[in-house]
């Protein structure tokens, strides 16, 4: 997402124009870009799970399979791609290559939420919101990397503070102690590794084991015939994303699939429940909605 959204005035005054959601004080002076901030998350994820760039490329390939059928997908016109094609595209910021980065697109999505049945129009199929949750953990990645606690269980590095008073009595925790605690909790790459590819992270909501998210794409489970169709409009990678309202496009796609009126392809088995995962900031915020045509008004 472009810097102008939040502190564009600051950036323009300094004249750097860095297109990054980076800390203006402690990150921007070193030249980060958004792909580099996500690239760090991806590099760590590959390192922790022994995965490769070819594994990450599977997500782009899978998204493009959906995207080529959607009339509004920004990359749809390029046709289907292969892992080799993804890996032969130039680096934007390692390990992310051009085909692994999101492009501009979408942005016209919107939704009106009404009560049912009183405000549902005749002939309209009601889609129900049966659950939602949201959490934000930080502003910039420097804040995230120095977090000692989190409001919810998070992936990646957290150096926990079990009991400040006990630590105070016991004297300063040594560096070795800090390392040990860090290792114990450094158990997973962040959800950003797949989000960086503009896709839902199927591991985040619990559809895959840690480090196994890419298998959902590679095995075809995320495709037309699969049991877990993912990013049916092409996702942020192929559909594109406008920076701010990208998750609105995802909601629109979910509602269209639930009503059986997708602009692109429907999965072989029409879904009755869809999970919408929205990501925001630099691995900073997540929101989940559960939409369904099952059930009815409370």
């Amino acid at each position: 997402m472009p810097a102008e959204r939040r502190d564009g005035a600051v950036r323009r005054r300094r004249g750097d124009g860095a297109e990054a959601d980076a800390d203006p004080q402690f990150e921007v002076p070193y030249g980060p870009t958004i792909p580099s901030l996500y690239g760090m998350a991806a590099a760590r994820y590959l390192h922790e799970y022994g995965l490769t760039e070819a594994d990450l490329a599977e997500v782009a390939v899978a998204n493009q399979k959906w995207g080529v059928h959607h009339p509004h997908a920004a990359k749809g016109r390029f046709g289907e791609i292969t892992v080799e094609k993804v890996l032969s595209s130039p680096y934007v910021s390692s390990p992310l290559r051009r085909w692994m980065c999101s492009t501009w697109g979408g942005g016209s999505g919107g939704a009106v939420v009404v009560t049912s049945p009183d405000n549902v129009k005749a002939g309209q199929e009601a889609v129900y919101l049966t659950g939602y949750g949201t959490a934000t953990t930080h502003e910039y990645l420097s804040d995230r990397m120095n977090m000692r606690t989190a409001p919810v269980p998070v992936d990646g590095r957290v150096v926990p503070v079990d009991d400040p008073h006990r630590q105070h009595r016991g004297g300063p925790p040594g560096v070795r102690d800090g390392r040990r605690r860090a290792r114990r909790h450094r158990h997973a790459g962040d959800v950003g590794e797949l989000r960086a590819h503009g896709a839902h992270d199927p591991r985040g909501p619990g559809f895959a084991e840690r480090g196994k998210g890419v298998d959902l794409y590679r095995s075809g489970r995320s495709g037309f015939d699969g049991d877990l169709p993912i990013d049916t409009n092409g996702g942020w990678l192929s559909f594109g994303q406008p920076g701010i309202s990208c998750n609105m496009d995802t909601i629109v796609e979910a509602v269209r699939q639930l009503r059986g009126i997708p602009l692109g392809l429907p999965p072989r088995n029409k879904p009755s429940t869809v999970l919408v995962q929205g990501a925001g900031g630099m691995l900073a915020a997540a929101t989940v909605l559960v939409l369904t045509t099952d059930g009815g008004p409370v």
Partner: protein, 134 residues
């Protein structure tokens, strides 16, 4: 005003004034909480761990381990485009905090878990910390 050199300058906030001043003397500093002994970074008025106001600036040992990194090939502006490819990354400092910065050297040699030491580089008006492989 933009720095005449073209390099982006840090948007300095008051809590961090001692940090930027020390860097001009080629000293890397961070805050430490006198009450709970946690390293505090980025700088704060209060300790984010125990809410104490007793934060003291102290000098970093200047060494750490690469947590992750990314080699930038598509630069955001012309000054950065002139030095691509360059590397940014997070370093777990031996002092117990994580610092973001540029990692100098051959990108092919930079790797997670490698040790780095801090040096200093003038970019326009401000001297900045910069890491290199130990």
């Amino acid at each position: 005003m933009p720095d005449p050199s073209g390099w982006p300058q840090p948007y300095r906030l008051m809590d961090a004034a001692p940090y930027w001043a020390a860097l001009q003397e080629e000293r890397l500093t961070f805050q430490k909480c006198d009450d709970c002994a946690e390293a505090v970074w980025p700088p704060h008025k209060y300790c984010p761990t125990c809410h104490s106001e007793a934060l003291t600036w102290q000098e970093s040992v200047g060494r750490g381990t690469i947590y992750s990194f990314s080699v930038v090939h598509r630069a955001p502006t012309p000054v950065w485009a002139a030095i691509t490819p360059y590397t940014v990354g997070f370093v777990l400092m031996d002092d117990g905090y994580a610092l973001f910065g540029q990692i100098e050297g051959d990108p092919g040699q930079i790797a997670i878990d490698k040790r780095v030491t801090v040096g200093f580089l003038r970019r326009g008006e401000q001297k900045l910390p910069v890491f290199e492989l130990a």
